[in-house]
Symmetry: C2
Subunit: 420 residues, 2 copies
């Protein structure tokens, strides 16, 4: 057992990363998962589909870290040079792996599609690697060892990489290395800024022992607070961290959404399930994004009735029954329209609670008195509705995301305040 | 004038990148901009707020590239070590830069906020650097030269980094280096797998000259094909690449969505605008995700009427007029229900075209004859409807994304086949 950090490097391969066509979201996810089990990512390197550059990266990173995770460059097409390179690098020769071959054949059989030479190539692997089965695709993960370093190569498709990490890589790392204990406790607050929050919990934060770190993770008007502790004695750490975490929750209880590491839409869903209630949305400017977030949660069909995305005047009128007169005189982005949209939603669905949104997301459509970023949000029940005017100053997509988050936050707080 | 590529490395600094707290979007943007002016990003490296790691990255990257762009680590807080390190690395000492001091003072005056010690520190820079003024923030950009390499340090805040790149860095690079030309041509295909596509264009691909590269970028049942060419003579390159690109388009024309570097939802929107038509969606299993994708495109209110997310039986019946009988006898995931949903959508909206979806996204809800991943999609106009049964085998979110992509693809192809 050692207290020294176990270092990893992440190498991502692909020209698309170097010309800026793809934003690398894999590395952040991998870093999070590695962190949770006590592996510290020391460096992340992106290189192109160039043999010498990949080779050099393997050399360099194995001098820095014990664990080298490689993603990308494993598809069946001609621009993929990673697999033969890995074969050479680790001094092997290519052989056919029967298990992968069966797996690939099976996938194509089930898809009822012809399997061609190129697909079969996925089953070829260096004879010096251990194959890690990729349940979600045809390109297998591969594990190599060299001079005390562990190299693991995975496809770059996020979904496949995540499956391999979860099913194979993380369990394998936990088994093979003695990790220091790393514990996290996370809570989500809404409606208070980072600096305001920092000021409020200042004394508590300053009294934290050196081996416990607090991170502020601000996102869309919410701030996640994450406590991280590491050391050798798991049970003692856990007890200490839970005590501190309880004290933190006490200090932020009026603005806390959940004391678990959950997204807002999951916390909202859990609250609805607990209360045995349902919801629906009438979305104009958020364009169905709230519905998407809510329905991305497994089991949401229990509490989610549906949505009307009323993007045009006629959809607002025909489906939600908004008065033509209101739209003409007050405009789509107004307290009057949002109220009628909300009422219309409660009429066409059987939901207990509702959300309505209408605003100008940009870049076009703004006027002097209603600039881009102005949004009306209404939330409520059949008995009561609360409407609020919000103002965001970002680009279109960010404005949509902020509208959705703020609307869900408002509904969450509305339901919380309801008598049980 | 040389034909050799001008290489750049991007170094991003910050622990938040290594624990996965922040997704690095800066590097992709920088790479795109550099690429446009003919600078090739060779490597991207992320290191933490650790002196030795940053120092080493500077050493290593200056062996790889002539231009080293550094972002992050320049804020006013105590944990920032980048600036003093750069000062040591280039053998300078810290001095106060009057122009930056005036600029910082001015910002705080305008904000009507007290300026504290910490903020004044922003005006301190190494005496061996050239200051690049940051109009959007307090941390200045800094330019250093060493052994024929150019080092440029910028703050990590995306908005400030982009301002500095646009106003200072890119013009400076264009002035100081003779660039080779880098050109890209991208097209998007749908419905054919990567390996099938590779097989089809094999002869054409093998005949490509050495300075032109083809990349396959598969995503959700679509494959992007990207041609990249580089060299000295811009006009000749352009002509050559366009000729090859035309030949490629000819070979994939039956499955090509667009010959521009656009997402499917934008290509679909452009097609609707061109035809002067509109669309709407009735979504069950896709839960509003199609609506979100379509409305994420600026200007979509011109052609997007709205959506009914009919997640529950009652929403399907009340809003879309699906027969209770149909739901009871055939189930929500059936050709009969999808047909009634589609017809209902055309009734409640004025859209010219529509999409309807109903399926089981998982992880729960599957049965023997309707397992998780079964989806019915209908697309069409007021005259004609096409319904298709699809089957995906992924996790919930991916199944939702695949449903959305395939549905948009189907509608795109439906509209394409319509008489103009």
């Amino acid at each position: 057992m050692t207290n020294q950090r176990l270092f990893a490097s992440i190498i991502t391969i692909g020209d698309e990363l170097l010309i800026g066509q793809t934003i690398d979201t894999n590395s952040a996810w991998m870093a999070q998962e590695l962190n949770k089990i006590g592996v510290w990512v020391k460096r992340r390197v992106a290189v192109g589909d160039t043999r010498e550059d990949i080779w050099q990266a393997l050399d360099e990173e194995s001098r820095e870290s014990k664990i080298i995770l490689i993603t990308g460059g494993l598809g069946p097409t001609a621009d993929d040079i990673t697999k033969p390179l890995l074969c050479d690098y680790f001094g092997g020769k290519m052989i056919v792996n029967q298990e992968v071959l069966d797996h690939v054949t099976n996938i194509f059989l089930k898809l009822n599609r012809p399997i061609i030479e190129r697909n079969m190539k996925q089953a070829q692997v260096p004879d010096v690697c251990t194959v890690l089965m990729n349940k979600r695709g045809t390109a297998p993960g591969m594990l190599f060892t060299k001079e005390g370093c562990l190299f693991i190569s995975m496809p770059g498709v996020p979904h496949e990489m995540k499956g391999l990490m979860t099913d194979e890589v993380l369990p394998l790392l936990k088994q093979n290395y003695k990790m220091p204990f790393i514990l996290h406790r996370t809570l989500l607050t809404a409606g208070a800024g980072e600096s305001f929050l920092a000021e409020r919990i200042k004394d508590w934060e300053e009294a934290l022992p050196a081996h416990i770190k607090l991170a502020y993770l601000p996102n869309y008007g919410m701030v996640k607070l994450r406590l991280t502790s590491h050391g050798a004695d798991g049970a003692a750490l856990e007890h200490e961290l839970d005590t501190l975490f309880l004290a933190l929750q006490e200090q932020v209880k009026d603005i806390m959404i959940t004391n678990e590491d959950l997204p807002l839409e999951k916390a909202l869903g859990d609250l609805l399930v607990k209360r045995g209630k349902s919801m629906a949305t009438a979305e104009s400017c958020s364009g169905g994004y709230i519905a998407h977030l809510v329905t991305s949660i497994a089991g949401s069909s229990i509490y989610f009735k549906g949505t009307v995305v009323a993007y045009s005047y006629d959809a607002k009128e025909t489906i939600l029954g908004v008065n033509h007169q209101t739209l003409e005189t007050k405009g789509a982005v107004s307290e009057e329209t949002i109220t009628e949209m909300f009422n219309g939603l409660m009429n066409v669905t059987t939901a207990d609670y509702g959300i309505a949104t209408s605003g100008i997301m940009g870049p076009g459509g703004g006027t002097e008195d209603k600039p881009v970023g102005i949004v009306w949000v209404a939330v409520g029940s059949r008995e009561k509705m609360v409407a609020k005017r919000l103002y965001f100053r970002h680009d279109r997509l960010k404005n949509i995301e902020l509208t959705a988050t703020n609307a869900m936050m408002m509904l969450f707080q509305f339901i919380k305040a309801e008598p049980v």
